[in-house]
């Protein structure tokens, strides 16, 4: 339960406190209800989704006759059991588009169109299972590459002296807010000439380019705030830049790298526009697959809600497990993208 008592009590303003408490509760409810609705719906059978509101999910007697428990005298728990299902998730993962459900079809021996009723169906190009793998294939290199390149640049910006250091960095600060839209057409044409459109490297390279300004900015701020003495003694002991970079800088920058990695990971994972333009349907990622289900296929709510929740699963886990790093990465600088 959320306790709304103030730690710093202030008995003079009871009315203010009451109103504040009501305000907090209203905002929290407004923020939670949409997501709860999605989660509940994703576990309900389609006939019930279309005929009853998700908020009545615990009422076991409403809905069409076909959705009722065969035995009217069954217990509440038994009835409730038939009103929730994981079929939506199976159908979304395999990309099943039939009229019943993947499991029903397979159990009855009629293989759904283009499917084998074994694990290979998880790789069906229409399904979220395949899209999940594609998302991973897009996201991991797109996270590692910019950070690796940015580490070197950030080191030069914070601990090396060279002409134009300040000017180049100022340009970089400006580049952080350049919108992706500004570069899409030329890059698309460039990739077309190189035959890269529809391939993973196209997205990796694009995300690397756009992730760099923010990554360098954040890492440079962290590196340049490390104590100077550390470096001086290392230099006096005869260490060169490479040695200092690998043995002193990298270990001390790990928390910042973690924040940045989580931030970039979620940014790429959640991106639609770049995947839409450079990958499209040839290597559908999760966001693409869902947007396609919404805009062109008109898939039912049972598939949409399950697919949406599948795409949110990994970000949610990352968010709740590593919230502190994520927030830090998000807040550390300006904006990007």
């Amino acid at each position: 339960m959320i306790s709304l008592t103030r730690g710093k009590t202030n008995k003079n303003f009871d009315l203010t406190r009451l109103l504040t408490t009501i305000g907090i509760i209203i905002i929290l409810v407004l923020w939670l209800i949409p997501t709860i609705g999605l989660l509940v719906t994703s576990f309900r059978p389609l006939p019930l989704i279309n005929t009853t509101g998700w908020w009545t999910a615990l009422n076991v007697n409403n809905g069409p006759a076909a959705a009722q428990h065969p035995d009217p005298n069954a217990s509440y728990v038994e009835k409730l059991g038939t009103r929730f299902t994981i079929d939506n998730y199976v159908d979304a993962l395999t990309g099943y588009r039939g009229t019943k459900s993947y499991l029903t079809d397979c159990r009855s021996g009629t293989k759904p169109l283009g499917m084998n009723c074994n694990l290979s169906d998880l790789l069906n190009p229409r399904g979220m299972g395949r899209a999940f793998l594609n998302s991973i294939a897009v996201t991991l290199p797109s996270t590692i590459l910019p950070i690796a390149i940015a580490l070197f640049a950030a080191y030069a910006f914070s601990w090396m002296n060279f002409k134009g250091r300040y000017a180049v960095f100022a340009i970089l600060v400006g580049l952080q807010v350049v919108p992706i839209q500004m570069t899409l057409v030329p890059v698309l044409r460039m990739f077309a000439g190189m035959g890269l459109n529809g391939t993973f490297p196209a997205v990796w390279l694009f995300h690397t380019g756009f992730g760099l300004p923010y990554a360098i900015y954040l890492l440079r701020n962290t590196m340049s705030s490390l104590p100077k003495d550390l470096f001086e003694s290392a230099y006096l002991d005869g260490a060169n830049h490479w040695k200092v970079f690998t043995t002193i800088i990298l270990p001390l920058t790990t928390p910042a790298i973690a924040s940045l990695a989580i931030y970039q990971f979620l940014w790429v994972w959640n991106d639609l526009l770049v995947s839409l333009v450079f990958l499209g349907g040839s290597k559908p990622v999760m966001t693409y697959q869902i947007s396609n289900m919404v805009t062109s296929l008109g898939a039912g709510w049972h598939l949409l809600t399950a697919a949406a929740f599948l795409s949110m699963l990994l970000p949610m886990i990352v968010f709740f497990a590593l919230q502190r790093y994520f927030v830090r990465g998000m807040m550390a600088g300006a904006v990007k993208g």
């Binding site: 959320i2 306790s3 008592t5 103030r6 202030n10 303003f13 203010t16 504040t20 907090i24 905002i27 939670l32 209800i33 949409p34 997501t35 609705g37 279309n50 005929t51 998700w54 908020w55 390149i149 070197f152 640049a153 030069a156 601990w159 060279f162 180049v168 600060v173 807010v177 839209q181 500004m182 570069t183 057409v185 030329p186 460039m190 390279l205 380019g209 760099l212 360098i216 340049s224 705030s225 490390l226 104590p227 100077k228 470096f231 001086e232 230099y235 200092v244 959640n270 526009l273 966001t287 947007s291 919404v294 805009t295 709510w301 949406a308 795409s311 968010f319 807040m331 300006a334 904006v335």
Partner: protein, 320 residues
């Protein structure tokens, strides 16, 4: 705060720093700098970039010469036959929608974020309450689009399965097609954006509020200031610099906004914004010239913020 950056004592050639910078500079030049210049260039050419935009002009119709794509980008959505027609068409054009988004989403996220940050400051479950508000930041616009499409769902049958229409029906009202009814639909999309980004504003503002020394608040409380007075006369003025940073960040985010509109309405029913319009020109119509002209207009709106960002950086550096 960060310690001052000082010249390292290390010996280094003129060459070594650039070696460390080279990969980054190459990648950024190829994927940001060169395309930006190229985009400007393409915006003055025809659909496929093979001839000047002037060649696309048709006889007997308005033509801005080399700026023909800009004429299209700026005026095509507008009806100039009368003042009223202009006014009406402006508010369903991508520019009118931009104004709605800027006003609605920036004020929504900052005001709710600020109020929430102040309200939960010091309560026992502060961390939990804040992560609930922040959580939408972690999910994609596409996921949020599905979530809210379901909230706004307009049932064709007797039963309303979208919670908003169910509530309206329960109170005896007629269900509303939230996403296709102009001008309500853009407003409904703005709510989705606000839902997603309030957590970001709230977290930044909350950190600023916490940095205000406790003594100042306590002293004014002893002097008899009400919570409201403390909020308006002390907290808000002190954190004003942070509020301004948050506002500019949100303005930039709103100008670039694409996914919410694309997923929820596809830019139909008068909900287009600059980014979705650009996408349509590029893909559905293969009009690279027009698409890039819209992109250039978009960046012109953002240039002031780029300059602001750099100036803020220079100021911060001077203080280090």
């Amino acid at each position: 705060m960060a310690k001052p950056t000082v010249a390292p004592v290390m010996r280094q050639g003129k060459f070594v720093p650039w070696l460390y910078l080279l990969p980054a500079i190459i990648v950024m030049s190829i994927f940001i700098l060169y395309p930006m210049i190229n985009t400007v260039n393409l915006s003055f050419q025809n659909a496929s970039g093979t001839a000047s935009a002037e060649t696309t002009c048709r006889e007997g119709q308005a033509c801005w010469g080399a700026f023909e794509n800009y004429r299209y980008a700026l005026t095509n959505e507008l009806n100039t036959s009368s003042v009223k027609a202009f006014w009406d068409s402006f508010w369903v054009s991508s520019y009118g929608n931009m104004v709605k988004w800027l006003v609605g989403m920036v004020s929504g996220t900052v005001i709710i974020g600020l109020l929430f940050a102040v309200w939960v400051d010091g309560i026992k479950s502060e961390a939990l309450a804040k992560s609930i508000i922040f959580m939408p930041m972690a999910i994609s616009f596409v996921g949020a689009g599905v979530i809210w499409k379901f909230v706004y769902n307009y049932g064709t049958s007797q039963v309303q399965t979208g919670i908003l229409n169910a509530i309206i029906s329960a109170f005896g009202g007629d269900p509303v097609a939230f996403l296709s009814k102009v001008p309500l639909n853009t407003f409904m999309l703005i709510i989705v954006g606000t839902w997603m980004w309030t957590g970001f504003c709230m977290t930044l503002l909350s950190a600023a509020i916490k940095s205000i020394p406790e003594e100042i608040i306590e002293a004014s409380r002893i002097d008899g200031a009400t919570d409201y007075k403390i909020f308006t006369k002390i907290q808000v003025p002190i954190i004003m610099p942070t509020i301004i940073v948050v506002i500019t960040t949100m303005v930039i985010n709103v100008l670039k906004l694409f996914d919410i509109v694309y997923v929820m309405t596809g830019g139909n029913y008068g909900t287009n914004v600059l980014a979705t319009r650009m996408y349509t020109e590029m893909y559905a119509n293969s009009q690279y010239g027009r698409g890039t002209a819209i992109a250039v207009i978009l960046i012109l709106f953002i240039v002031p913020f780029i300059i602001m960002n750099i100036r803020r950086f220079i100021k911060e550096e001077a203080m280090r």
